[in-house]
Point group: C2
Chain length 285, copies 2
């Protein structure tokens, strides 16, 4: 496995791989790799010949006061895990490599970026879109892999890639969960033991929502109310940022739940803001 | 010469050219080709093996009430001229090909887009940046060619390409002028005979500015005043949008003229809004 810290090194390695006819799969990450990331790498390995992982804790997708400064870093462990998983190239640039002095360009996706997490994190998705556009231009992958845990991110990035005609296929992969249902996340490492136990309720509440919708597709408001009650009971220390039932494409709130809907939530335990979601289609079960 | 109306056709032709080791030069245009465009094609031909011209009257860079509906189109003549000049591929997409339903993504370059023409055309440069990003991803050129007549556009596109790490070199080419000094522009075709005569004063006023700056590098305000007086005298029907003396990189107003400066102006004759500029460096003459 190679590691590259400069854009030139990435381009040279990828060009070499492409010249030998290899297809390039790309998994962009913030580091702090876990089972969710590993599933993306495995998925990439299944369908691509040359696998690139980026480890870049992108500051522009964090607002002042968010957890950029304490975000868990584990570069040595991340590199070892990538090597074990058959990654060919890890791109691990500095902030200065990614953002030259005087950079002024921003890529934004209207509406989709303002929904759900965008309400409490207004600069987040512009930061994500801009860095993903940069990484696509640096890595020039054939396919890029994103996890469904960050469902809104996947929707936004798909829209961005299509709208700007990036010659990159966006592949999304299922949420990977701990044994008790908690969606894997780098931020789970922030949780104290008690909060870690309560955090399993996020998935439990989403399962409850799925059951309700599949059983009788009630109004979204009823589903939201039930999810909030379950969270209040089972995760009393969790501060709910949002619980929403939205269209799976537009991410706009829906009133009914008879079509396919996304039930999404964000809950903060002390400084650990966790998100989770489920897509429920009452028609297909 | 090939023509392509679909993105797939462009990609196939460019891939074939690249596979045979050819470098790709790209000249994006709105159509209505003139000597300025031809100079860009010639410049591309000098340094690239495979030349792609796009002809796309991009609606998103025009505001409501601007001249999108009457912008001179001459597709047959444009194609003949491209063929004569040795262009390999003309990409001539429909609006529907370039903008799918539900597109939501915008590429913006802060500050630089708000200066000069951006003040009276606030959506213009976001429209330009977004379509250029799209075209770069469709054509994947090695080099792209832009004219100095649209100096601000070149600065903005260079910033965008660098910030987003597009693997494209932006090449700028000198302004091409008519015999009386008027900068070549598709919009010159709007001018009646009398206004066409007056319009030569734009270049005359910029030459005056250049002489003043080279002679004694006076305060920018004096240069602007002299340019405005000259325009009032020699182009009395021209409505001045702006006359500015700005930094050549930041495009911010300067007070002194001892460094290299850009003198830029926009003047409208009836419905014909014309722009012109000159870079003056009093140090080097």
């Amino acid at each position: 496995m190679k590691t590259a810290e400069t854009i030139e090194d990435v381009r040279a390695s990828v060009a070499e791989a492409k010249a030998s006819g290899k297809s390039v799969g790309f998994v962009p990450t913030l580091g702090g790799l876990h089972g969710g990331h590993f599933s993306l790498i495995d998925a990439a390995r299944q369908v691509c010949d040359y696998i690139v992982v980026s480890i870049f804790l992108n500051p522009t997708q964090f607002a002042p006061g968010e957890d950029l400064d304490r975000y868990p870093r584990n570069t040595e462990g991340d590199l070892a895990a990538c090597s074990d998983r058959g990654v060919d190239l890890v791109f691990i640039p500095s902030v200065e490599t990614m953002y030259v002095d005087g950079a002024l360009t921003e890529v934004t996706v209207k509406y989709l970026s303002d929904a759900l997490c965008g309400r409490s994190r207004p600069g987040h998705f512009p930061g994500v879109c801009t860095v993903v556009a940069k990484l696509f231009n640096i890595v020039t992958p054939d396919k890029a892999f994103f996890g469904d845990k960050d469902y809104q991110q996947a929707v936004v990035v798909k829209r961005m890639a299509a709208d700007l005609n990036f010659p990159v296929e966006i592949v999304t992969c299922p949420i990977i969960r701990e044994d008790d249902g908690l969606a894997m996340s780098t931020r789970n490492r922030y949780l104290c033991q008690d909060h870690r136990r309560q955090a399993a309720a996020l998935h439990g509440a989403l399962e409850l929502a799925g059951e309700m919708i599949r059983r009788s597709h009630p109004p979204a408001a009823e589903v939201i109310e039930a999810v909030r009650r379950r969270l209040a009971d089972a995760a009393p220390d969790g501060k709910i940022d949002y619980v929403q039932v939205v269209d799976t494409q537009s991410l706009r709130d829906v009133e009914g739940t008879s079509g396919p809907v996304l039930v999404a939530l964000a809950v903060a335990f002390a400084g650990a803001r966790l998100i989770d979601n489920t897509v429920v289609d009452s028609a297909t079960g």
